[in-house]
């Protein structure tokens, strides 16, 4: 296994050996890389400071122009398209996976940040307008815009449990959507960013009020865990939700007393395919660790270029 980590202030993706954390290489990818996605053997890199994304495949880096600033996240369709919201503008870039060419751009709500795909439709959340645009990506057109109320700021968008969930950062809410309407929404903690999904529940960290809200898939049942601190995100491994805190050098199991000490506070994490370990980025300390959740210990910690963001296991 390799751990690939985009380092936002270094314009590099660093590759670390999964066994011992030894650095295996640094790949120049463009300005401000933040998120990675593996699509059919290629690694797509969202370089948020550019009007382009990078694609790393077979040892080469290909730049794909989006024409709009701020590519942030990715979603892939069954039809071989890779979708990229451009947060600095108001467009969803559509890239053909095979040819690595921009094939279309679709107008969506202002400052789109995240995208999810479900049953042939892409759902694009807008930070600026607070809407979710439903897109027929194959046809290259927006079908409708779902209005999520007064003043929302949509950050995370995910397709899980047979529905689509959108996190409203400004309103402290999570919404369950269908293709045609907002079905229901519920309050979560203050300043939420995105949801994490377990086998039976979803979890949303409230960054400003030190909570993690656990919700049933239909949002009808809610449990608020008062965890304190500055919870930045939740990762779910083998059914257990683990809390990452930007100011606390521990992983804490949500809803139990179990904790694992780590060398530095963690910002974002990625559960390895085996499900028993998590790669965490120490964003403020320029390091990355692999944590064995079963053993309850840190396996290795590696220095990285500046501002390691969301890791990915390859």
């Amino acid at each position: 296994m390799l751990a690939a980590v985009p380092c936002a202030d270094a314009d590099r993706v660093v590759l670390l050996d999964g066994a011992d954390g030894r650095e295996r290489g640094r790949i120049p990818v463009g300005d401000h890389p933040v998120h990675l996605a593996e699509v059919a053997g290629a690694v797509f890199v969202a370089t948020m400071g550019d009007r382009a994304v990078s694609v790393v495949e077979n040892g080469t880096v290909t730049r794909v122009e989006t024409g709009v600033l701020g590519p942030s996240h990715f979603a892939a369709t069954d039809g071989g398209l890779v979708l990229v919201p451009c947060t600095g503008g108001d467009a969803l870039a559509v890239i053909d996976r095979e040819s690595l060419a921009l094939v279309d751009r679709v107008g969506v709500g202002a400052e789109p940040h995240d995208v999810a795909v479900r049953e042939g439709r892409a759902y694009v959340g807008s930070r600026g307008d607070g809407t979710v645009t439903v897109v027929d990506s194959a046809a290259g057109r927006a079908l409708r815009t779902l209005d999520l109320g007064d003043g929302p700021r949509i950050q995370g968008v995910d397709a899980e449990f047979g529905g689509v969930y959108a996190v409203d950062q400004a309103g402290g809410r999570i919404a369950l959507l269908s293709e045609s309407e907002l079905i229901v929404s519920d309050m979560v903690g203050e300043n939420p960013y995105e949801a994490a999904f377990g086998p039976e529940n979803l979890y949303v960290a409230g960054r400003d009020d030190g909570t993690v809200t656990a919700l049933s898939p239909d949002l009808s049942e809610t449990t608020v865990h008062d965890v304190g601190g500055s919870p930045s995100s939740v990762v779910v491994a083998d059914g257990t939700p683990w809390l990452l805190d930007r100011e606390d050098a521990r992983l804490r199991a949500v809803g139990s007393a179990e904790t694992i000490s780590i060398p530095y506070p963690a910002f974002l994490g990625y559960v390895t395919p085996a499900g028993s370990s998590v790669i965490v980025s120490h964003y403020d300390d320029d390091r990355v660790s692999l944590v064995d959740l079963e053993a309850g210990e840190t396996v290795w910690t590696a220095e990285t270029p500046s501002k390691p963001f969301e890791p990915l296991a390859l």
Partner: protein, 196 residues
């Protein structure tokens, strides 16, 4: 120079003009397909400018950034922000009270602060045509060799039909990426981030 903001430039404002902008009394009716074709050609030219030249937006910073209440500046625009890759140099800096700003200050503004070069391809635009024409004149007077006016302006670009918006995107941020912490991030300065 056109002095009436309600009067479109000659030719219906359908090309990037390299010569001095001119005005006519009123817009002649044009077939929609001709307008669309010319707009598409102009989009290609503007995208090339964004790649190899400089787009200069002369509107106020609030309009350029699509600030939260930018719709109050120009309520008729469907979208707010700026053309992808454009920089903002508010035209008002061209004047000092009732006079044109001293040439040394103007040269410093455009060639130092805005980092333009006299040899650049420069395309200026505003909401309409009066303000960018002023900038066009100033830049030509300062020795910039290839200055053009996008005479459709932001008014045209921002108000294309919904299905065309992806081909005519509007940006609200700049290439300045500022990470933020503990707030909703991405304030009104054009910076934005993925952490907040």
């Amino acid at each position: 120079m056109c002095t009436n903001p309600n009067v479109p430039p000659e030719g219906g404002g359908r090309t990037l003009t390299g010569g001095p902008p001119r005005c006519r009394a009123g817009r002649e009716s044009e077939r929609d397909d001709v307008v669309d074709a010319r707009l598409a050609e102009r989009r290609v030219e503007i995208e090339k400018t964004a790649d190899g030249g400089v787009l200069v937006d002369v509107r106020p910073p609030e309009a350029y950034l699509g600030a939260r209440r930018a719709d109050e500046l120009v309520a008729s625009n469907d979208r707010h922000g700026h053309l992808p890759g454009a920089i903002d140099v508010h035209w008002i800096d061209n004047v000092d009270d009732r006079y044109v700003t001293e040439p040394g200050q103007l040269a410093s503004l455009y060639f130092n602060a805005a980092e333009l070069d006299q040899g650049d391809l420069i395309v200026v635009y505003g909401q309409g045509n009066v303000d960018p024409t002023h900038t066009w004149l100033v830049l030509r007077a300062l020795g910039a060799e290839d200055v053009r006016l996008y005479d459709g302006g932001f008014r045209e670009w921002a108000n294309v039909s919904g299905d065309d918006r992806g081909r005519y995107p509007v940006e609200t941020k700049t290439t300045t990426v500022i990470e933020t912490s503990g707030s909703v991030g991405g304030g009104g300065d054009g910076g934005f981030s993925c952490t907040g």
